[in-house]
């Protein structure tokens, strides 16, 4: 610590009251177990800009490409990091002049600098370790995104303001899916500025990004859709029923999904129909849209994706998220009502007879 402070003073630190407080704060932070030592009070930005304001400053990577090291003044002004000093992120270059380093390519440089973010954003960094992106990284895919690929470097802004930015960020790589999504009922609303609809990260998550290759995530689909579609206040706004989740869960498909979840045994058999298998994934349309796979005219075709032999009456086996009532599925309602009366009547009656019999036996003694 003392050594570091000494080195800082050598670098010509102006000890103002402000930076003195910062140093004290840093010392306190370092003393906290688990706290990330911020590289505060390092070289000040003016020192960096002495060289990096030069627009011709560049670095030659081993593949012969030149990487500009120019940082235009005010590059960070509009970013969330506006008040953070260069050296707080660029720790490895705190010594001026910098020790010489060599990079194979521009991507190599990006990947090397990526470790800087986790000093402050450790929780989000650990989340990325569970992500599908990280799986690509560990397969040796150097194009798999790291922090700056989604967030940017000097111009980092709030990633979800406005929300439509989220989809645009993902679209940089997932262009096809983003186009499909943009045409869906959710995507159209998002583009129109509606904050209620899900953007990519609401289903796939931001840092622990999951996709269809993660079965556990797939089996959580009903919960994902249900987080909005079972929300009464939200659905009321759009005149949508919140029964969709409960009616799905209490049916064969939903029960299977629920029972396959949280099983430590492997998930055997094909994954059963989840919301997205019938309604579509990125291309979800209103259930009343003529293109919707769940509109009556398209139902049989949709069922046949999993039940190729299905014919004629088969789609009617699914009550389309309706609770049986006097108006819908009357036959099922009659059966439901019948048992709701019969079971208590039967068990109550038999129980009463037993109690009576026992009472008489006791009275006899």
């Amino acid at each position: 610590m003392a050594v570091r402070l000494l080195r800082i003073s050598k670098a010509g630190l102006r000890v103002t009251l402000h930076s003195f407080v910062a140093v004290l704060g840093t010392m306190w932070l370092i003393g906290q177990p688990g706290a990330q030592p911020a590289a505060a009070a390092a070289v000040d930005d003016d020192t960096c800009l002495t060289c990096h304001s030069d627009s011709s400053l560049s670095l030659k990577t081993r593949d012969g490409a030149g990487v500009s090291l120019h940082v235009p003044e005010g590059a960070l002004a509009a970013s969330v990091h506006a008040r953070i000093r260069c050296a707080e992120c660029h720790m490895t270059t705190a010594d001026v002049p910098h020790p010489e380093r060599s990079f194979a390519s521009r991507r190599d440089l990006t990947l090397a600098l990526d470790t800087q973010c986790r000093r402050c954003h450790f929780a989000n960094y650990t989340k990325t370790l569970d992500s599908g992106h990280q799986q690509a990284v560990s397969r040796g895919d150097r194009t798999a995104p790291v922090c700056v690929d989604c967030h940017g470097a000097h111009d980092i802004r709030k990633p979800s303001t406005p929300r439509a930015v989220i989809s645009q960020t993902c679209a940089k790589c997932h262009e096809g899916i983003a186009t499909t999504y943009a045409r869906s009922v959710h995507g159209q609303a998002l583009t129109a500025g509606n904050a209620d609809v899900p953007a990519c990260t609401d289903c796939h998550h931001a840092h622990d990004v999951a996709g269809p290759k993660q079965t556990a995530w797939e089996l959580r689909t009903p919960e994902m859709c249900g987080s909005c579609h079972a929300n009464q206040t939200l659905m009321k706004k759009y005149g949508l029923s919140t029964n969709v989740l409960s009616t799905y869960l209490s049916d064969f498909h939903g029960k299977t999904a629920s029972l396959r979840r949280n099983q430590h045994t492997s998930v055997t058999g094909p994954v059963v129909a989840r919301c997205t298998d019938c309604h579509g994934v990125h291309d979800i349309q209103k259930a009343s849209d003529p293109q919707s796979p769940v509109i009556k005219a398209n139902m049989l075709k949709t069922c046949r994706r999993c039940h190729p032999d299905a014919a004629g009456n088969f789609p009617a086996a699914w009550l389309s998220h309706y609770e049986p009532s006097l108006h819908k599925a009357q036959f099922v309602y009659a059966v439901k009502l019948g048992y709701a009366v019969l079971i208590p009547f039967m068990i109550g009656g038999l129980g009463l007879q037993i109690l009576l019999h026992f009472w008489r036996l006791m009275a006899n003694r």
């Binding site: 869960l249 099983q263 045994t265 299905a310 086996a317 699914w318 099922v332 079971i343 038999l350 007879q353």
Partner: protein
């Protein structure tokens, strides 16, 4: 002296129903009550919902075959005129039920006197036969939904789904409440009515629980004994 009450075939039938019923309940209820923690635990213990369903279907098919074999035997016996009528409900059974209720309420001190099967046993037998037909029939609908929907309305499938699960629950509760009482907890038989396993019943119980049958057997024994004497 012990009286024979059940043939070895009947004892086998009871044992098979008992064992299959247990398997069906253990593999079935976690599916019905899927959102309870114990259901998840049981399913995990069974090796996943797909394994549980395999056992449920296997036991269900065996149960169905047992039912069909039983009914076919009755039909066969009926055709040959050798069917026993002792399980057929009669007007006397209703009178016995009323009489027993009156006795239990303390309105009379005269207990109903029963023949080979009392009204409770007949109720349980016919209840089982009817209930089994419902669960086996609806079970088949659920096992072959596509085939069902080829010939019958699709709405039959969710109706069968509901009926299968509710009928199963009712059967389970009747067994827990009624059968466990009558075969185990009732002071008449406590702790265990062994007759369905051994096939025989003691003279004392015969006299007490089936007096009409007992007296008829005694009369017949006397009649056959007389000419020999």
């Amino acid at each position: 002296m012990r009286y024979v009450r059940f043939s070895s075939l009947q004892r086998f039938e009871h044992f098979a129903v008992m064992a299959l019923f247990a398997v069906l309940a253990i593999t079935g209820f976690p599916q019905k009550f899927y959102d309870h923690r114990w259901a998840q635990t049981t399913i995990g213990w069974l090796g996943g919902v797909d394994t549980a369903r395999w056992f449920h279907r296997a036991a269900g098919i065996a149960f169905g075959l047992l039912l069909v074999a039983h009914v076919l035997r009755l039909v066969w016996q009926l055709a040959r005129g050798t069917v026993s009528l002792s399980m057929v409900p009669t007007r006397k059974d209703f009178r016995d039920a009323v009489q027993t209720l009156r006795y239990d309420f303390g309105l009379t001190d005269r207990q109903a006197r029963f023949d080979r099967f009392d009204y409770r046993q007949k109720f349980e037998y016919w209840g089982l036969l009817l209930g089994s037909s419902i669960v086996v029939g609806t079970g088949l609908v659920l096992l072959f939904p596509i085939l069902t929907a080829r010939v019958l309305p699709g709405e039959l499938i969710p109706a069968a789904y509901l009926a299968h699960s509710q009928e199963g629950l009712m059967a389970f509760l009747v067994v827990i409440v009624w059968h466990i009482y009558n075969a185990h907890l009732s002071p008449d038989v406590f702790p265990f009515d062994t007759s369905i396993f051994t096939g025989t019943i003691s003279e004392e119980r015969m006299r007490h629980e089936h007096p009409l049958e007992f007296e008829r057997l005694r009369r017949r024994a006397d009649e056959t004994a007389k000419p020999a004497a």
